[in-house]
């Protein structure tokens, strides 16, 4: 029983991390139809900058942890906004070129990070509580997972409130449905594009700091590894669907954890099989709009 609970809860925690990355991907694709392969680079930079700030304060204090989260989010938002302005905006409606430029940026960013921080993982420290566990029905769950769940829940609630109750949120929802008509109402949809990129980058930056605490280290490849699973959950959830991304994140991660534990470490293979299954049965994903 305790093993079952442990696998389930760590699966949900991992799903929370996936959602932190996938939410931005999903929002960006939903509004702009851009598959952003540079999203992992935003995450990695957020992780490195969070690490740099935390180690200058006191890595084991909550204060340093909170500041590192803030810095990770701000750096992610900033670099994502710059990417949108400098690289994506000049290529509007040229989707293949946009994909290519984000792929190029992703590769260049990894090389840059390796140049600055080296290619070896840098192990990080955390507040004492985050290195401990909490007992739930006999299972000892690492506390980092609770932080991941809290962060993902806060992000989901914030995004839902933002999308539902603010004018920009309404513009984004309308833009996901019919971008041309939004401009035909006199709204500069490019502002919404910039905002969505910044929000996605911010979530990735925060996700980067938390991913570093999840793995125990930062490395230039941190974002690339997570990006693969984030894309998988985005596709399974339905490209452009935020609730779909949330549901798929948890489903995929729980499935992955169970397969890893009970099927001899086959989690990654099972996830790919699940992706293939969803694409065959429901190509638009769980909550995505059906292709015409």
């Amino acid at each position: 029983m305790s093993t079952l609970v442990l696998v389930l809860l760590t699966g949900i925690g991992l799903g929370a991390l996936y959602f932190l990355v996938a939410s931005g991907l999903s929002l960006i694709y939903g509004l702009m139809h851009v598959l952003n392969f540079a999203h992992g680079a935003f995450l990695t930079l957020g992780a490195f900058m969070g690490f740099e700030v935390a180690r200058r304060l006191d890595s084991t204090s909550w204060w340093a942890f909170a500041v590192s989260i803030l810095v990770g989010g701000l750096v992610g938002a900033g670099v994502a906004a710059l990417t949108e302005l400098a690289l994506i905006r000049p290529l509007y409606e040229r989707h293949i070129e946009q994909v290519l430029v984000t792929v190029g940026l992703a590769f260049a960013a990894v090389a840059l990070y390796e140049g600055i921080w080296g290619s070896d993982p840098i192990y990080i420290q955390a507040p004492a509580w985050m290195r401990e566990t909490t007992g739930v029905l006999g299972a000892q769950v690492p506390n980092t997972y609770w932080v991941l769940m809290a962060a993902a829940t806060a992000l989901l609630i914030s995004l839902v409130v933002f999308l539902r109750y603010t004018r920009f949120g309404t513009i984004i929802r309308a833009g996901v449905e019919n971008r041309a008509m939004v401009t035909a109402l006199g709204i500069d949809v490019r502002t919404a594009f910039l905002l969505v990129f910044a929000i996605g980058g911010s979530a990735a930056g925060v996700g980067g700091v938390l991913a570093a605490h999840y793995t125990g280290y930062v490395s230039a490849h941190l974002g690339s590894t997570l990006l693969i699973f984030a894309f998988i959950v985005t596709v399974i959830g339905g490209l452009g669907s935020l609730p779909g991304a949330a549901i798929a994140s948890v489903m995929v991660a729980v499935l992955q954890q169970f397969a890893n534990y009970y099927l001899g470490g086959t989690g990654d293979i099972i996830v790919v099989v699940a992706l293939a299954g969803v694409l065959l049965v429901r190509p638009s994903g769980l909550l995505g709009r059906r292709f015409a």
Partner: protein, 239 residues
């Protein structure tokens, strides 16, 4: 008579395919000007080109000011309202959110919109995607009428609607035209006959006739030749 819109040598393409060849016309500053023509001659594309929704060239002036180099949202902010073909309401947004999204001025014309479309008042919280076609058309019209525009571009507002709803839409357009000039693409010639003062006929991506709407629609031979409707006059032979 003063003009609100001047279009000179307008041409436009969609995915490299020329859909508007060389269109020139003017729209008077009052009343409704109908854009007529057979299916697929470029009427909708002309409206979309004026608004910058498709690649276009040529000159477009709104009240004397060039707008052909502007992006769509800037043209709209200059005071051009747009009611697209097929309504294009945001189905996942409520009626109220659709209207709020369209508001560009501090004091929107709420009273006018509520008076024209009382049915929408009680459906404010309903998802626009769950409305009937007629109700969606009212939302689409309301989005354009909620601002003080200088010109409305209205594309086939009665398409696919029941006769009763067609009358309601025509009533709304008639009332709106008292305060704002309208460039109207419409296939329903009864509606055109009732509403339009002037008419432009497009064929093959070009303007082939302009004049008073009543004169064009009152000439059976002309109507048949330009629009392909009605019975060809017995005399005159094949055309």
């Amino acid at each position: 008579m003063s003009t609100i819109l001047e279009v000179e040598g307008l041409h436009a393409s969609i995915n490299g395919q020329q859909v508007v060849e060389d269109v020139s016309f003017t729209v008077p500053a009052t009343g409704i000007t109908a854009v007529l023509g057979r299916n697929g001659v470029g009427k909708t594309s002309t409206l979309r080109a004026i608004l910058g929704l498709i690649d276009r060239g040529g000159e477009v002036r709104l009240a004397g000011e060039r707008i052909d180099g502007l992006r769509t949202h800037r043209i709209v902010r200059k005071g051009v309202g747009y009611v697209p073909e097929d309504r294009e309401v945001f189905g996942s947004l409520t009626v109220e959110e659709n209207l709020q999204l369209a508001v560009r001025q501090r004091q929107p014309r709420r009273e006018l919109v509520d008076a024209l479309f009382p049915d929408l008042v009680q459906r404010r919280r309903q998802m626009a995607g769950t409305l009937s076609g007629g109700q969606q058309q009212m939302v689409s019209l309301a989005r354009a009428l909620i601002n003080d525009n200088r010109l409305l571009l209205v594309d086939e507002p009665t398409k696919g609607l029941a006769p009763l709803i067609v009358d309601q839409v025509a009533d709304a357009l008639e009332e709106a035209s008292a305060t704002v000039p309208i460039l109207l693409v419409e296939q329903n010639l009864e509606v055109v006959r009732r509403l339009a003062t002037d008419a432009i006929v497009i064929s093959g991506g070009r303007v082939v006739h302009t004049g008073r709407a009543a004169d064009i629609l009152g000439d059976e031979e002309l109507t048949h030749r330009l629009l392909g409707v009605g019975v060809a006059p017995a005399t005159g032979g094949a055309r």
